[in-house]
Symmetry: D4
């Protein structure tokens, strides 16, 4: 009976250019220990996402960053490519997914510019930053509820725009499903989308572009 619950995909970075990452949420304490141990044994760097602070507290090997709920085992790349990605959020509550994207990019050697709380309810805040945003190679638009920010942004900039719908709000926000469908049905052409709250996925999509 073969019963080893963990089986890393160690050659992922070589194959697709993105370092190994572990979705901590939904794993038991025992499983996370086994993962850390396996990585330490191989002297590998691993990014942990959706890691809550209680879990992180029991894993001293991990460098934890609370606002993004990410942890890094091993070291960040010594050198980071400057500001090729703009991460833009609609509201303050969208910050965690934005930080998750920023940390994933950093873990893979890229800096990012963070522009928070420029949702369309007060449109001037966004319009004032459009030129700055356009100067980046990739734009990540993080927004919940109506997610109107992503449509306005994709209508104004020419860069690849990756939407991250977030689970902010209540009622008809439907835990991010409204923002998700709203981005998918956007009137702006060529907005592509990742899972709800998935700052990690947006960063990986950006990395695929930056690596090409």
């Amino acid at each position: 009976m073969s019963e080893d619950e963990v089986n890393f995909d160690w050659n992922r970075r070589k194959r697709i250019g993105i370092g190994e990452a572990v979705l901590a949420q939904g794993k038991s304490r025992e499983q996370l220990y086994a993962i850390v141990e396996a990585a330490v044994r191989r002297n590998a760097s691993v990014l942990f996402t959706r890691l809550d602070d209680q879990m992180a507290a029991g894993l001293p090997e991990i460098d934890y960053h609370a606002p993004s709920r990410t942890g890094v085992l091993g070291s960040f790349p010594a050198h980071r490519i400057k500001s090729s990605v703009a991460i833009v959020t609609a509201g303050t509550s969208d910050a965690p997914a934005a930080w998750e994207a920023q940390r994933t990019l950093a873990f893979n050697g890229h800096e990012a510019t963070l522009i928070f709380d420029v949702g369309v309810a007060g449109l001037h805040r966004l319009l004032a930053r459009l030129e700055e945003i356009e100067r980046h190679n990739v734009v990540i638009a993080v927004a919940g509820m109506d997610a109107a920010l992503a449509s306005v942004l994709a209508g104004q900039v020419s860069r690849p725009v990756i939407g991250v719908p977030t689970s902010t709000g209540y009622g008809a926000a439907r835990e991010g499903d409204t923002a998700l469908s709203s981005m998918l049905a956007s009137c702006a052409a060529g907005l592509s989308v990742v899972n709800i709250d998935n700052g990690f996925g947006a960063a990986c999509a950006a990395l695929r572009i930056l690596n090409t």
Copy 2:
């Protein structure tokens, strides 16, 4: 056995200030004939909504308007109050609900300004009309898919804004449900909403405001 299928609410206009209307969709030819007959007998004016042209063709007493799918039995008010309502649409496909609102307002004695196809994918189209829109007493925002127009509009004008989500688009547009939820979860304060494609309802909500 009492079996009269139609039972009008004749004192509605007196009670709530809005004329009798009949939702034609879902009624049989026989039922529509009976309704017309009853109204003619009382010499009453009635607005028919969601009336398709085949149905209308069989009802010569009715003055039919195809783009709005409405018909009027009897006469419009002799005098209309000028341009107190702005009806704004995001795309060309949203026109039917806008026309339905316009016709309902006309049937109840109010003119409206129609501003079509100013969705946020090309933001400049909307920004150019904001001042004009603000000069009206009530704004009706008609938009499908992401419905971002309604959020941007409600964030920029101070007037009552009534959102009409439309069933345009496909896939994640979910026959108007995405636009509906998006408007309900809007980041702009004080946007109120009616049913999908319900230009009639938006006009009635506007009438309640104008009558107060």
Copy 3:
């Protein structure tokens, strides 16, 4: 790297006539502190909604009101316009959204009449109050489950009626979705609707009417 998570829309009151409000739910303690600090620095008044008592306890600058889960930083307007809004609830459990509407109106200078627990299961309770309700300029109908109150009310009064579906009940009440769809599909003409439990939004929609 620009990383300031909070970016107020300070000229909102000037632009649309409604004071700045913060949705506390979904924000971290650190973010709420930053918001309070920024507002205090500008000497600005801010309304906090969906603020639970634990959060409120850590923010002594805020004047907290438990039944509505709202807090006010700064001062209420010195003078309030008298009783232009009637807030009517179907059941006792709908009270929090009603209080949220009342507090939002007060924060923006308007009094409201609160009429609780007059749901249609005991119709006489509502019929007894209809005349009184009709004397207000705007009616807010707060109801969960079948939300029949909103339909009956909008069928009887001529005033603008804004429905607030609530998340009371269980099972087929679907956390407010049934009340929401029920209000949207109401047989009464011109009922407009805001998000589930969104007393704040209903009050803002009322303010747009009262300010016009």
Copy 4:
């Protein structure tokens, strides 16, 4: 290989007191022919529901009633018990389900009183009939969209009230799902419910009561 697609439950009337009925919708022409043939062979009476007129045209043995989309093979009971059931509808469009209930009762030997188009948008129409309704042993409330009629009715009469949600309306009416959930989550105590548009089922539930 046994391949006879039809296998009647002939002793149903004896077992549960309700005559055999066939849901025509979803059956092929060949299957309906086989069913008619089998029934004729046994000299049995059968009620067909949801039978469209094209189907009915090909089945001359069946006595077809278009408004209810029902057909009867064989004979109705010679004697009908008088007016023990009141069937009440909210709107004109709800008539088909009401007729289906009426025909099912007739097929099983019971008369019914039909009261159409007394929805709560014009409440006086219903209030005027309450006493009459209360005089029946069972009440069937047929309503779509918000289905508020059922709640108001069950709050005012003491009789068993069986709700039939209907698929009238559009958008948030969700093809009857809103009416269904609204009735299930009704604020009135002891309202029981059958499937959307299921006048047949409501009549059968009434028959179980009347037979007890």
Copy 5:
């Protein structure tokens, strides 16, 4: 400003034959106190449903019954009508809704026979009790997950059968929605249904029958 959050429907028992009941879930401690106080003042009996034990502990005036999560303020009827209702459950986990029905009947003067855990996975358990069940005037069928019990039961007994879908199970059980839809779409004729876990509602529907 009228601000009394509680407004009893005191003449309900006289009007529809069912005593006043309060849905405790979703009410604050303060609201429950106010309700108890109002009832005590009037010397009225009230049934509390969905009352958790922590809430109950703070309300010593109430006679609490944990398995049904109900509490009674005041007294039960001195005399109970014998065993007119059979309450049948599919599994052990369905017991709470069954008890809620039993307590509601008792509060309104009727005894009930409880038959637990006779789901169709072991069909013989149910077949052995069919004759006994048929001897009651009303049958309440309590079942979750596939809710097959209700269909089998309604196919075998001639009595009114009221289905109570329950929220037992996980995954595709969808917190009772599968059982609910399954009962509504039952192949058995004349099964009527109440809300998920709503033993109270089923009992009230039974009372309407028993009172007729």
Copy 6:
């Protein structure tokens, strides 16, 4: 530019023991022609499923069977293994999926016993056949609406039972979703399920068992 729209998986039968099948629904006339041509060129046998009669009429090479909506290109196996599978349906309307399963088995060399219309509303019909069903190696249970047949069957026989939920019924039957969820949440242990109306898939699952 490589643009050949069809690319067969010719070694499927060798790899997994099931012959090549084509889902006709959703393919254009041109695509179906190309498929037939490619198969004829290789002298291969192919099963077409969900092929409507209009499509079939244009493809004379195919041997069409209307009740199952299947067509066969090439020849059936000369020899069929006798009656190892029992296919049981709840109602007459479930026949198409049953026939699809029967044809798929025949195409792959296995006979099946078809037992129609033994749903649990008239339980005796099923009980009378249980012993016969148990004598087969695999049981396919085809049922829509509440799908109670599958639960009762899996509770009584020891054989592998594969459920095929069907899209019969209306309203809460939700085009087969209720039957699907009901089977997945079945109280009977070890019932496995395939897609709605997927007689083809159930037959393939049976073939995997029979081939082992």
Copy 7:
């Protein structure tokens, strides 16, 4: 009044070849005690599933296994049939359902091979094990989120493949519903499916095959 909440189906193993099992989740402490007592009285072996560790701690008669959340009362079969089932998981987080399947098989006398964490994101991990998997009589594929593992596996092996969708992931994973629908709509022929996280059900389906 009969009030015994527990009523075992003791002859299940004899009837369908699978030992008695109890779904602990959703049962009260009192009910679980009563079940243990009844089983001990009869000297019967019982498998408890979805038993959390707090519940288990109060039931010392039960042999608890935390990773699978199962407990066994009584003894395992002395002899186990060797490795007839391969249980394959996509990720580490899918382990609990895999363990539940393994324990259910062991309780009924069968060993299983566990192959963890071979999801298709790193396809080589799965391809390396295909031959080994094919050597088993039944394959259980455990996967959440996109559940692509099940499709790839069923496309490559000829054995019966039973899919267990899991509730891992977040957002669009929809607590297992995406994996469930994905498996049901799989492009691979003859994959059958059980409820979300239902390792127990998959094992029972395997037992029905192994027992035939």
Copy 8:
């Protein structure tokens, strides 16, 4: 009253690098005529998508391509950039969305390689093309039902992968929703997604990348 229903966003290509496109579906014949006329007047090129052949037949100015349901008014760019995009489909039925992407790219000056029918049910078909796919700058993965192709592909290639879920299949395929959620919840990192059947959107997202 301003009533011009069409209002082009003519400077879109200059602003975001993508030519004007019109979603034909949902527009009336009159509206399409007006759009063609306006474009002809300005001598502008326009791409029409989701244009059915009946509509196209009435618009002789448009160059129609049936498999993609697109039409072009005006001319394609004289020069096309060679094969920078690979468009890969899982099945033959996914071809229309693939062709829509190909046409959109051509309209904007880019060639594409089309690789059809390489779904994972016959994995070898895809593995044989992986190296070829990797040589392109962007990959568009078109797949319905389980959409497993997109996950496998994104796990094997390093390029930006844009998923287009399609509405092929039936039942649990849920008109593309399963494929959509499956891609969003993919176990492969950095897959981004557009709306169901939205080949146009995927091409636009690719253009944003190619233009950067």
